[in-house]
Symmetry: C2
Subunit: 228 residues, 2 copies
DNA sequence: CGTGATCTTGAGGGAATTCAATGTCGGTGG
DNA sequence: CCACCGACATTGAATTCCCTCAAGATCACG
């Protein structure tokens, strides 16, 4: 359950100064928010923003993967979410981020200035609606996360695998960008329990694990059953 | 961990037909959303709406208390949130509710038609902003709930008490509208563990429990320390 | 006062954690 | 090329915390 706080000090504030390009509002009506930011690369484990930093930007994963997390004062880390290409994160209502965000692997993230978006939303109901919808989607995701956290270890891992499978491109094979520690901290388990549970699922022929970061769902029905 | 599904069949759809009073949009600019619904009473344990029912309304607690919850297929119940007077619930982006809602005690709830609100939001940025803000608040609450669920029993109970205290009117005394079972299902614990934990906290002089629904926080600092 | 619902307390068991050791993989330098 | 190294993952044994099962205690209500 315990994780040493990571020590990446590629703080975002140094690095995000050049992300302001304001398209004309007119050009945006009916268009997706997605076309209006500057793309930035982040190295593996680099911090994208920190908890309690001002929430100046909204972020969209272009490539790679991102985790958001909080660290309790005794070092326990809880991962709030994993974000894959296409996902938006960093959407907050307050002026500061309530989680920290890090690159799981090398990744590219598009930055969109919050103030721009808010100003735009005041003119375009389309934009306003997208902001609202994205927040609501995050809420649903968080509620799903809550439902995961009350379950047994097997159910949590099964649920996690199904979630990843549903978001991944291909069919039965899940390519995991994150470590066992990340998974454990997402599921509220220890790394050992995650490992053991994967082995159990493999022994029961529900999955196979050709390499530690690649998992094949062999019996999706069995996993779904575990998903309660 | 197991709770029998409640069997209240005071289904909302029968009961909400008369909640449409549309104020002029002009009258609403700069005003709070709060002034535009019909108030309905609900009996203790009455269902306000069910999971997967169409989300036609948005709700605001006027008096009493409400719980939202989901029941897994094996009977485990997870409470998503408790709502006290002033709180808004039932805010969904999709067309159906993702949780069920019940009155914890006799209560009065104001109903606001969703379609009205959405139409209004299209005209008034004020209204649009309030909708977004409320959703974002819910998101924050859910994220806080996630952080609770990864902690020890003591930490969860302490966190719950502090949360209730911060929402309650008065100072050190918390008046709990909900049963031990409700608390247990909110915290992902059993009723016995909640009870034992409260006794522990009482023995360690952090709280006192004059009656089962009334709890006095005697050492808030100790509770906060537990809150990690 | 009974009666049922709710809450507390106790004893025992089980699931996940902790602590510790071993195994595997990818990269780097000899 | 292969040996070594560190990071990551798996496995094992012992412990701990919470759950389960069961019995009492307390409270609200007729």
């Amino acid at each position: 359950m315990h994780t040493q706080p990571m020590t990446n000090r590629n703080s975002f504030s140094q690095v995000a100064a050049r992300a302001t390009r304001i398209p004309s509002p007119a050009a945006l009506l009916g268009e997706s928010i997605e076309l209006m930011g500057a793309v930035m690369p982040f190295a593996r484990n680099a911090e994208i923003y920190g908890e309690n930093e001002p929430a100046e930007y909204l972020y969209k994963v272009v490539g790679g993967a991102v985790r958001t997390y909080k660290v309790l004062n005794d070092g326990r880390r809880q991962i709030g979410a994993f974000y894959l290409p296409g996902d938006v994160f960093g959407l907050e209502i307050g002026s500061v981020h309530s989680f920290s965000a890090e690159a799981i692997a090398e990744c590219k993230v598009m930055l969109i200035k919050r103030s721009t978006l808010v100003a735009l939303a005041a003119r375009s109901h389309d934009v306003a609606n997208q902001l609202w919808t994205m927040t609501a989607k995050e809420l649903q995701r968080a509620q799903g996360h809550i439902m995961l956290l009350i379950k047994t270890a097997q159910e949590r891992v099964a649920g996690f695998l199904l979630e990843m499978a549903s978001r991944a491109p291909a069919g039965n094979t899940v390519e995991l960008p994150m470590s066992r520690q990340d998974i454990a901290d997402y599921l509220g388990l220890t790394i050992e329990t995650v490992s053991r549970t994967l082995t159990q699922l493999e022994n029961s022929a529900a999955i196979s694990v050709p390499s530690s970061r690649r998992i094949v769902l062999r019996n999706q029905a069995a996993l779904t059953r575990l998903n309660a």
